[in-house]
C-alpha cells in the first residue's frame, strides 16, 4: 500500500512538472491523472503546485532559433541558464522558409513565443503581411530602443513600428589575405577606392602571388547593392524597390565585370547550400588561399580564414568607394521577431534584452571561439561606447571600422520583394557580365521589367 502511494506521489509530481513546463496542457494533465488512477489526488497536486500560474502562462518561455545562430554563437545556452524552465528550440526554417510560422498564424496559434533569426529585408515584410508577428513597441524597454544605432532601428521598423529586435549585425566590408598581398609587393592596408582595389588585384595576378586577384559573392544583395551604395544610397524607388537603372547601380555592375576579369571563373555560380545562397564559390576560393581581396559581410572572410595555415594573415577594412562616391555600404541585422499568437511576451522581451546585451556572446563573436568566428557585431551604441572607453584586450581592429561605417551604411529597404528582386534579377544582369548583353543599362532595365512583371503577376 505504501509503495503504491509512493508511486502515485511520483506520478503526481511528474505530471505537475510537465504541466508547469508547458509540455502538457491542463486537459492532458487531467486526462493522464485519471488514466493513472490518481483522480482527485492528481488535481490536488495541481492545486498544491499552482494550477493558477499554469493557466496564466500555459507554457514556459519558448524561443526558437535559426540553426546557424546556435552553431556560430556557443554562449547562447549560458544566457538560457538564467531563465529557468526555458523551452529553447531550433526553428523549422531551413532555407529561410517561414511556412510553418504562417500556417500556425492562420490558426491563430504559435508553438513558439519569439523567433531568433529574422533578417528584416529577407522576411520581415512577409511575416508582417501574413499576420505572424507583432511589433515589439509595447514590450521593449524605451532605453533599449534609444540605445539602438539609428540606421539599425530604421531597418527594423515598418510604418513606425519596430517589427524586429536586432541582434547580430553584418556589414559588407573588404578583407584581404596579407600573405598574398605582401608577396605581390602591395602595402598592407585597405584599398580606399575601387580603382585601387582593382589595380591591387591585377598586381596580385600579374605577380603570381595568387591565381586570382579579387572576388565577391554574386548574389545581388551581397555585391550589386553594396557596390552601388558605395557610390550612392539614394537608389530606392518610392515603393521601396532597388533602383536597378540608377547611375550608381550601372557603375556597380560595370565594376563587377572588371573584378570578374581578375577572379575565379566560377564566381557567378550558385552556392552549395541553402538553395544556392550559401557555400558560394567566393568562399571556397578565399578558404583555399587562391584569391587576395574579398568583399562580403565580415563573417565570411573570418570563417573562411579559419581554413588557412595562418588565419592571422586575414586583415579587414571598409568597403572601397568610387572616387566621387558616398562611401556607404550595405548592412543587415539578424534579429528577433515576436509571434503575434505566442505567449510570454513580456518574458520574451526580458530574454531578448539579456541575450542581445550579453558580453560573452559579443566577445566570442568578435574574438572567436573553438566553435566559430562569426565576427557579427552588436546593434547598441552603449556597447561600442564602453569598448571605446576601455578597449578590451580581445578586441579586433575591424570593429571600430565597422562602427564608423554604420553611420553611413544603409540597409536594403523593407519590401515584400526586398530579397526576391535580387534573386529574379541575377540571371538578367548576368547577361552583361557574361558578355551576352553589351549595354549594362539595358541589362538592368530588363531586371526592372522582370521584377515588375513578377509583382504584376500577384495583382492579376
Amino acid at each position: 500500500m505504501t509503495i503504491r502511494k509512493e508511486e502515485e506521489y511520483k506520478l503526481q509530481q511528474n505530471l505537475a512538472r510537465l504541466l508547469q513546463q508547458g509540455s502538457i496542457d491542463r486537459r492532458e494533465f487531467l486526462m493522464r491523472s485519471m488514466v493513472a488512477g490518481l483522480g482527485l489526488a492528481g488535481i490536488g497536486a495541481a492545486a498544491k503546485n499552482g494550477i493558477g500560474s499554469a493557466r496564466a502562462q500555459d507554457r514556459p518561455l519558448t524561443p526558437t532559433f535559426y540553426q546557424w545562430i546556435i552553431d556560430l554563437h556557443p554562449s547562447i545556452p549560458k544566457v538560457n541558464e538564467k531563465f529557468p524552465g526555458i523551452n529553447y528550440q531550433i526553428a523549422p526554417v531551413e532555407g529561410f522558409g517561414i511556412e510553418r510560422f504562417v500556417a500556425e498564424a492562420k490558426k491563430k496559434e504559435s508553438t513558439w513565443d519569439v523567433y531568433v533569426g529574422q533578417t528584416p529585408f529577407v522576411e520581415m515584410s512577409a511575416m508582417k503581411a501574413a499576420d505572424v508577428i507583432e511589433p515589439w513597441d509595447n514590450y521593449i524597454p524605451k532605453e533599449v530602443i534609444d540605445d539602438m544605432i539609428p540606421s539599425i532601428r530604421a531597418e527594423n521598423t515598418i510604418d513606425g513600428k519596430l517589427y524586429g529586435w536586432p541582434f547580430f549585425l553584418d556589414v559588407i566590408g573588404n578583407a584581404w589575405h596579407s600573405g598574398l598581398t605582401t608577396k605581390a609587393g602591395l602595402p598592407d592596408k585597405a584599398p580606399v577606392t575601387w580603382d585601387e582595389h582593382l589595380a591591387n588585384a591585377k598586381k596580385v595576378v600579374a605577380s603570381g602571388a595568387a591565381p586570382f586577384g579579387a572576388t565577391f559573392d554574386s548574389h545581388g544583395w551581397r555585391s550589386l547593392a553594396p557596390m552601388t551604395h558605395s557610390m550612392s544610397t539614394a537608389v530606392y524607388t518610392k515603393e521601396g524597390l532597388f533602383d536597378f537603372t540608377s547611375d550608381a547601380a550601372v557603375e556597380a555592375l560595370k565594376l563587377m565585370k572588371q573584378i570578374m576579369a581578375v577572379s575565379h571563373p566560377d564566381i557567378l555560380l550558385e552556392g552549395a547550400s541553402d538553395a544556392g545562397v550559401n557555400g558560394t564559390p567566393d568562399e571556397v576560393a578565399f578558404a583555399a588561399e587562391r584569391v587576395a581581396y574579398y568583399h562580403k559581410y565580415f563573417n565570411a572572410p573570418l570563417r573562411m580564414a579559419q581554413n588557412w595555415d595562418d588565419p592571422k594573415l586575414l586583415h579587414m577594412g571598409p568597403l572601397p568607394k568610387f572616387a566621387n562616391g558616398e562611401g556607404s555600404t550595405v548592412f543587415w541585422t539578424t534579429g528577433c521577431a515576436l509571434f503575434k499568437h505566442g505567449k510570454n511576451k513580456e518574458k520574451a522581451a526580458e530574454y531578448i534584452k539579456a541575450l542581445t546585451y550579453d558580453p560573452q556572446i559579443w566577445q566570442d563573436s568578435i574574438a572567436g571561439t573553438k566553435a566559430a568566428h562569426p565576427g557579427q557585431l552588436p546593434p547598441y551604441k552603449s556597447i561600442y561606447a564602453a569598448w571605446e572607453a576601455k578597449k578590451p584586450d580581445w578586441m579586433l581592429d575591424f570593429v571600430p571600422l565597422v562602427r564608423a561605417q554604420l553611420d553611413k551604411a544603409k540597409a536594403i529597404t523593407n519590401h515584400i520583394f526586398g530579397l526576391q528582386q535580387f534573386v529574379i534579377g541575377k540571371p538578367v544582369w548576368e547577361t552583361y557580365l557574361k558578355g551576352e548583353e553589351a549595354d549594362p543599362k539595358a541589362a538592368l532595365q530588363k531586371v526592372v521589367d522582370a521584377v515588375q512583371a513578377e509583382i504584376a503577376r500577384g495583382k492579376q
Binding site: 550558385e270 520583394f417 513578377e454
Partner: protein, 313 residues
C-alpha cells in the same frame, strides 16, 4: 488424392464463414474509405480547387474563384514551357542510365556462379542505395566542386587537360549541371534498380536459355527472345516509376541549382515552389495550376510509356 480447388474449399466452408468474411471486408472498406479520402483524394482535390482561385498564402484576403485564369496565365508563360522542357531534358539523360545500365549489370551478376561472390556483388551494389540522401548530396557536391573537388583536381592538376581558368563548372546552374546530377542519380540508384532486374532474372526457368543454347541460339538471341520479354513487366514498372520521379525532381535542384531562373535546374517543380513559397505573397493558386499542368503532362507521357513497354502477348 484428388486436388481441391479454391472454389471447392470455399464450398465446403460453413455458409456463415463467407458471410462473416464478406461483412468484415465490407466494414473494412467502409472504414478505409474516409481514411483513403482524407489521405489520398482530399489533397489532390484541394490543390485542384486552389488552382481555380487567386489564393495567396500570405494574404489575409479571401480567395476568389477565377476559373481557368491561372491555367491560361501559366500556359502563356514562357517559363512554364522552358521549365517543363528542362525537366524533360533531365529525364532523357537520367532514364536510360536507370534502365540499361542496371539491366546489363544484372545480367552480368546473374552469370556469376560462385554464390559468395554473387552475394558480395549484390551487397556492394546496394551500398549507395542505403546512404541517406543528405550524405549523397554532400559527397557529390564535394566531388563536383570547381576549385577543390577531386574530379577537377584530376582534370587540372593530375592530367593537365584543363587549367584553373577553363576547368569544367559542374554544378551551380551551368549546362553541365543536369548531366552531372543525372550521373549522381544513376550511381545512387544503380544497385537498387539492378536488384529489380536480378529478381526478374531469377524468375526465368534456367532450362529455357539452356534449351535455346542447345538449339544453337546466340547469346544475343537468347537475351532478345527470352530474357527481354521475361523482364518486360519489371522494365515497364521501372520506366514508369522513374519517369515520374525524374520529371518531379526538386530536392536536387534546390540544393545544386538554387532559384536562378536561367539555370537548367529551374524546372517546373522549382517554378511551382518559387511561386508557392518564395515570391510576393506566395501565389499558391497559380502554383497549383503549374502543378496540375505538370502532373497532366506527366500522366499523358506515362500512358504512352505504359503502352510502349507493356508486355506483349
Amino acid at each position: 488424392m484428388a486436388e481441391t480447388t479454391v472454389s471447392d474449399r470455399m464450398a465446403t466452408r460453413p455458409v456463415g464463414h463467407a458471410d462473416t468474411l464478406g461483412a468484415r471486408m465490407t466494414a473494412l472498406r467502409h472504414g478505409m474509405s474516409p481514411w483513403w479520402f482524407r489521405y489520398q483524394a482530399y489533397p489532390i482535390f484541394r490543390v485542384l480547387w486552389i488552382s481555380f482561385t487567386d489564393y495567396q498564402y500570405l494574404s489575409s484576403e479571401p480567395a476568389h474563384f477565377v476559373g481557368f485564369n491561372n491555367y491560361a496565365a501559366a500556359l502563356n508563360d514562357p517559363l512554364m514551357w522552358s521549365s517543363l522542357w528542362r525537366a524533360t531534358m533531365f529525364t532523357i539523360m537520367f532514364l536510360p542510365g536507370t534502365i540499361i545500365l542496371p539491366l546489363l549489370l544484372a545480367i552480368l551478376v546473374d552469370k556469376v556462379s560462385n554464390p559468395r561472390l554473387a552475394t558480395l556483388y549484390r551487397v556492394v551494389l546496394l551500398i549507395p542505395a542505403v546512404i541517406p540522401s543528405t550524405l549523397v548530396f554532400v559527397l557529390w557536391k564535394w566531388m563536383y566542386n570547381y576549385q577543390v573537388g577531386p574530379i577537377n583536381h584530376l582534370l587540372v592538376d593530375v592530367f593537365g587537360l584543363f587549367t584553373l581558368q577553363n576547368a569544367p563548372q559542374w554544378l551551380g546552374g551551368t549546362s553541365l549541371t543536369l548531366p552531372a546530377i543525372a550521373v549522381m542519380e544513376v550511381w545512387w540508384g544503380l544497385g537498387y534498380h539492378t536488384i529489380f532486374f536480378l529478381a526478374g532474372l531469377a524468375a526465368i526457368p534456367k532450362d529455357l536459355p539452356e534449351a535455346a543454347r542447345i538449339d544453337g541460339a546466340s547469346e544475343w538471341s537468347i537475351f532478345w527472345h527470352i530474357t527481354r520479354p521475361a523482364l518486360a513487366p519489371i522494365m515497364m514498372i521501372l520506366v514508369v516509376l522513374r519517369f515520374g520521379t525524374a520529371m518531379a525532381v526538386i530536392d536536387e535542384y534546390l540544393i545544386f541549382g538554387g532559384f536562378n531562373r536561367d539555370s537548367p535546374t529551374y524546372t517546373w517543380t522549382m517554378f511551382m515552389y518559387d511561386q508557392a513559397f518564395k515570391l510576393g505573397l506566395w501565389r499558391q493558386g497559380f502554383a497549383a495550376a503549374i502543378g496540375m499542368i505538370g502532373a497532366i503532362a506527366m500522366m499523358i507521357v506515362m500512358i504512352i510509356l505504359i503502352r510502349i513497354f507493356r508486355p506483349k502477348g
